[in-house]
């Protein structure tokens, strides 16, 4: 029995106890001392923890690679990232241990205060599209990738600073007008490789990781 199953069983037991308690409460007077003691717990403490834990779980959990690859359109990205033969930016950052955890989130975290809302809206839009299957593969990144995701780590490093044009186009880099990925490799497999029906697509979908996650 793994830990998830154990938590599930414990949860069921807690709910069961709760139900029994409720029946007990309903049989006593509403003004009994027991009710007075339980009321703040029921109306304040429990809802607060439920909301807090739920949010924490969603916010933290959605930063994990496993949460990103739940949609199969993301599988090629993750599988490619974990392929030691691949030379995409994602794969190089992964295999060299430049980013040790939350690999998707670390390079796509340009959320900020308003960004979070936008990201959630985007996520919701993606979810709707995914559920209703109103999308086409290969999916494409529209918009502009935020260079700050790269600069957060690379800015100030000797290799970055040694390149003269990094200084002369600094403004363009800071505002993402000139994208880092123009000159520095492909971040992920190109849409051509992610087109269903091609041999490369089948390869990318066959990655170990997705299988592991999907195993019941």
């Amino acid at each position: 029995m793994d830990i998830t199953t154990a938590i599930k069983i414990i949860g069921m037991v807690v709910i069961l106890i709760g139900i029994i308690l409720c029946i007990g409460v309903s049989k006593t007077s509403l003004y009994s001392p027991l009710y007075k003691r339980i009321a703040p717990l029921a109306f304040l403490v429990v809802p607060f923890f439920v909301v807090a834990l739920g949010n924490y779980h969603v916010l933290e959990g959605s930063q994990k690679v496993s949460s990103c690859v739940r949609c199969h359109v993301m599988a090629p990205m993750a599988n490619d990232m974990m392929d030691p033969q691949s030379t995409t930016l994602a794969a190089r950052h992964y295999k060299n241990g430049w980013i040790v955890s939350k690999q998707c989130f670390t390079c796509h975290k340009d959320y900020g205060l308003n960004g979070t809302i936008k990201a959630k809206l985007d996520g919701f839009r993606h979810l709707v599209k995914y559920t209703l299957r109103t999308y086409e593969e290969p999916t494409r990144f529209v918009g502009r990738f935020n260079n700050q995701n790269c600069l957060n780590c690379h800015r100030g490093t000797p290799n970055f600073e040694a390149i003269k044009s990094h200084h002369t186009i600094r403004n363009r880099l800071e505002t993402s007008q000139t994208n880092c990925t123009h000159c520095h490799g492909f971040p992920h497999p190109t849409p051509l490789e992610r087109t269903p029906g091609t041999a490369r697509y089948d390869e990318l979908m066959k990655g170990e990781m997705v299988h592991e996650r999907r195993r019941p």
Binding site: Q85, S86, T87, R92, D110, G112, L113, N114, V142, G143, R144, F145, N146, N147, Q148, K164, S165, H167, T168, I169, R172, E174, T175, S176, Q177, T178, N179, T181, H182, C183, H184, G185, F186, T190, P191, L192
Partner: protein, 751 residues
């Protein structure tokens, strides 16, 4: 003060509202490092980069009929990558100093005139010179930056219409030796390999190529290949420890002008150590010495003089280095050679190119994925526009030669000309042309999309001479140095201000559509040529009057030739991300690897490899003796000057030097001097020095570095205000007529 409970509630409410609102609003305001500006483009269109021969596919973002953004095209061969120059493409249409109207030189100054007045004068002068001196006295000097349609039309106008073979251009300074190399070895020009070979190669042999700076997208691709497999080796041969060299597994630093010794010594080791592929040689190759046909034994005897131990001292390297790289070259699973100006801009340029091809032939490192000799090109359309259309003084379209009567007859038939129209005598090549413009042999010349008054060697002498010739210059920018010799200036459209086809290094044709209007009265070079043809009453010959019509004529022309790309129709170019020829039918996917059965449709079915360019279907291995470069270090001129390029600038800098992000990064033209030499001459960082050769002198700031080998100076040629070509010697290859920009004996003086 009395507050009611209601007032307090109101106050709290207002406070909360303003605080909350404030926080929300401040979050919306853009801050200096907000990271991401919104996408400006309303519409994305496909195109090709304006600059080098890599020919990267770009997506061009438009808003209000203006180019606002550019990004790499993920579906093109470059898979979305660009270099810093390509990333700044939207800037080139906003640059100041664009020529807006035609001008005529009156009393030493250029004065604005109407198009009609300018073109009438141009036509009159052409007619006058033709009447007085005949067809040999008019000339066209084009460029690897013109569209294919433009070069094709100019070539036809001059060779068929005016009956003058004086059609040449800056590709003569750039890759004439490579073109001759391919023709000599394989019978037809253009490389057989493709960029995709980079993903299959296990050994890269970069010689005379600073790809990190000059072809960054391709070099990144090479590095990606090595990152994928650390067994992949990169060999770099260069007299300078370039950025490219800093990534090499093996770096060989010979003295400028000695690398034919290296190639011959490598062949010597390969033969001596049994690293050759006898079966491949027997089936697909024959040997040719300077005195006639020979065989493998003859080759072995010839190479006896080139043992590593004999030649290494002259090159300033160790014999063991030669043995090491010869072994890697021959024994790697797939070896890919890449070279540019280091081999081409040499008095032995053709010898070097043929020897480079020969190394691939004797080791069988050819016609397999990853095994190929690939000459990189400097200009976006030198391959497709100039080499394929035959827009050089000795060529006719689709790999034909002027001196061959059969080829002339074929072209006359295809162009529907009376027999004998095309003159049997090749025209003046670039070096001779600018001499002829000085001594009166050429009286009227049209220069298009090129800047010879910055790029020719021995510039001081050339500039003085050519003033006598009536020169018409079509150019987009008003500060190009060539305008100084112009009698008529015609404003030309740039990049997406006109439509046409670009053909890059790997035989890929790509379409660039017109997206914006040119500034002022500027016109496309094709329009100028068609206008000129009409005024010279040659519109019976120049019948195609739009880029589309010229393209149709050109692909029909190519049908049945060894270049056959009749399947690359305009419609397909609009749909697809470029196509590689040969491509004889509209349903053919294009040819990645030429001469390879199953890929190249022109190979006899059933054959694995067939070098069909030559009659006997065999490639030729040449025995090429080394001759020292004419410029040797002497007592008076003890150092060797070599010229080249920098990452942020392209060609003569007419475009890139105006983009401040690029010009600030590259700085001004300067001379790189080795630490040891600097110590010897007492030169420090930033010292003003004069570089003096037998041909001219130039004062520059010195950069003391370990980049060039001791005894070698390096100066990039992009700076229009510091013309290093004033110092460069005018010697050129006897076969390709390409000048040797890479070796000039100089001395250095403090000023």
């Amino acid at each position: 003060m009395n507050y009611s409970r209601r007032d307090i509630l109101k106050l709290i409410g207002l406070g909360t509202l303003s605080l909350g609102g404030g926080v929300a609003l401040s979050g919306c305001l853009p801050t200096a490092k907000s990271g991401s500006t919104p996408v400006l483009a309303e519409e994305w269109r496909r195109g090709v980069c304006r600059f080098c021969g890599t020919g990267c596919g770009v997506m061009i973002g438009l808003r209000d009929q203006k180019v606002v953004e550019v990004k790499g095209d993920e579906l093109a061969h470059n898979r979305g990558m660009l270099c810093v120059k390509g990333s700044l493409l939207p800037e080139i249409l906003k640059l100041p100093g664009r020529l807006q109207y035609p001008m005529i030189r009156k009393n030493e100054t250029l004065e604005r005139v109407s198009w009609d007045e300018a073109m009438t004068l141009v036509a009159e002068r052409f007619e006058a010179v033709l009447r007085k001196q005949g067809p040999k006295a008019v000339a066209f000097y084009g460029s690897g930056q013109l569209f294919t349609e433009e070069s094709y039309t100019a070539n036809k106008l001059f060779k068929a219409g005016l009956r003058s073979n004086n059609v040449d251009g800056n590709p003569r300074l750039c890759m004439a030796s490579a073109a001759f190399g391919y023709v000599k070895t394989f019978g037809k020009d253009e490389p057989m390999g493709c960029y995709e070979d980079i993903e299959h190669a296990t050994c890269f042999f970069l010689i005379g190529a600073n790809s990190y700076e000059c072809h960054p997208v391709l070099f990144e691709r090479i590095l990606l290949r090595r990152r994928q497999n650390r067994q992949v080796k990169i060999i770099v041969v260069d007299p300078r420890r370039t950025k490219t060299a800093s990534y090499a597994d093996h770096f060989i630093q010979p003295l400028p002008g000695t690398d034919l010794l290296l190639l011959n010594a490598m062949a010597h080791v390969m033969l001596e150590d049994g690293l050759i592929d006898q079966a491949f040689i027997g089936e697909h190759c024959r040997f040719q010495g300077n005195d006639g046909p020979t065989n493998l034994e003859g080759f072995r005897l010839f190479l006896q003089d080139y043992s590593p131990e004999k030649v290494a001292p002259e090159m300033g390297i160790a014999p063991s280095q030669i043995r090491e790289i010869a072994y890697l070259f021959a024994r790697s699973k797939a070896t890919m050679s890449l070279w540019t100006m280091g081999l081409n801009q040499r008095t032995q340029g053709v010898y070097l190119n043929t020897m480079m091809n020969s190394l691939h032939l004797i080791t069988g490192q050819i016609c397999r994925p990853g095994a190929t000799p690939l000459s990189l090109t400097g200009q976006g359309n030198a391959c497709g526009g100039v080499r394929d259309t035959g827009s050089l003084a000795h060529l006719l379209p689709a790999g034909r030669l002027i001196k061959k009567p059969k080829h002339r007859a074929e072209v006359e038939k295809l162009w529907k000309l009376p027999k004998g129209t095309i003159s049997p005598e090749p025209g003046y090549h670039a070096m001779e042309l600018f001499k002829a413009m000085g001594d009166g042999r050429v009286g009227c010349a049209l220069i298009m999309a090129s800047n010879p008054m910055q790029t020719l060697p021995d510039l001081t002498a050339v500039r003085e001479r050519v003033k006598k010739c009536f020169t018409i210059v079509a150019e987009p920018f008003e500060d190009a140095r060539t305008l100084e010799i112009a009698d008529v200036v015609l404003p030309a459209a740039l990049w997406v201000e006109k439509e046409g086809v670009y053909g890059q290094t790997e035989r890929r044709y790509q379409l660039l559509e017109k997206l914006v209007d040119p500034p002022g009265e500027a016109r496309s070079d094709l329009d100028i040529l068609i206008d000129l043809a009409k005024r010279l009453k040659l519109d019976r010959i120049i019948t195609a009057h739009s880029p589309e019509a010229v393209w149709k004529e050109w692909i029909d022309f190519s049908a049945g030739s060894k270049y056959d790309f009749s399947g690359i129709t305009r419609d397909r170019l609009k749909e697809e991300r470029g196509l590689q020829w040969p491509c004889p039918t509209v349903d053919h996917p294009g040819t990645k690897r030429r001469f390879v059965g199953g890929d190249d449709p022109l190979v006899t079915p059933g054959k694995k490899v067939e070098f069909y360019g030559n009659k006997d279907k065999k490639a030729v291995i040449f025995l090429r003796p080394y001759h020292p470069a004419p410029e040797r270090p002497t007592k008076k001129f003890p150092l060797l000057l070599t010229t080249g390029r920098v990452l942020e600038q392209w060609h003569s800098g007419t475009i890139t030097d105006k983009i401040k992000e690029l010009s600030n990064a590259s700085g001004r033209g300067k001379v790189e001097i080795n630490l040891q030499d600097a110590h010897r001459y007492g030169i420090k960082m930033g010292t003003r020095v004069k570089v003096v050769s037998a041909f001219g002198a130039l004062t520059l700031n010195a950069v003391v570095t370990d980049t060039p080998k001791a005894g070698v100076l390096f100066v990039a040629f992009f700076d229009a205000k510091r013309l290093i070509n004033q110092v460069v010697a005018p010697h050129y290859d006897a076969i390709s007529k390409q000048p040797e920009f890479k070796v000039t004996a100089v001395r250095i003086e403090k000023v």
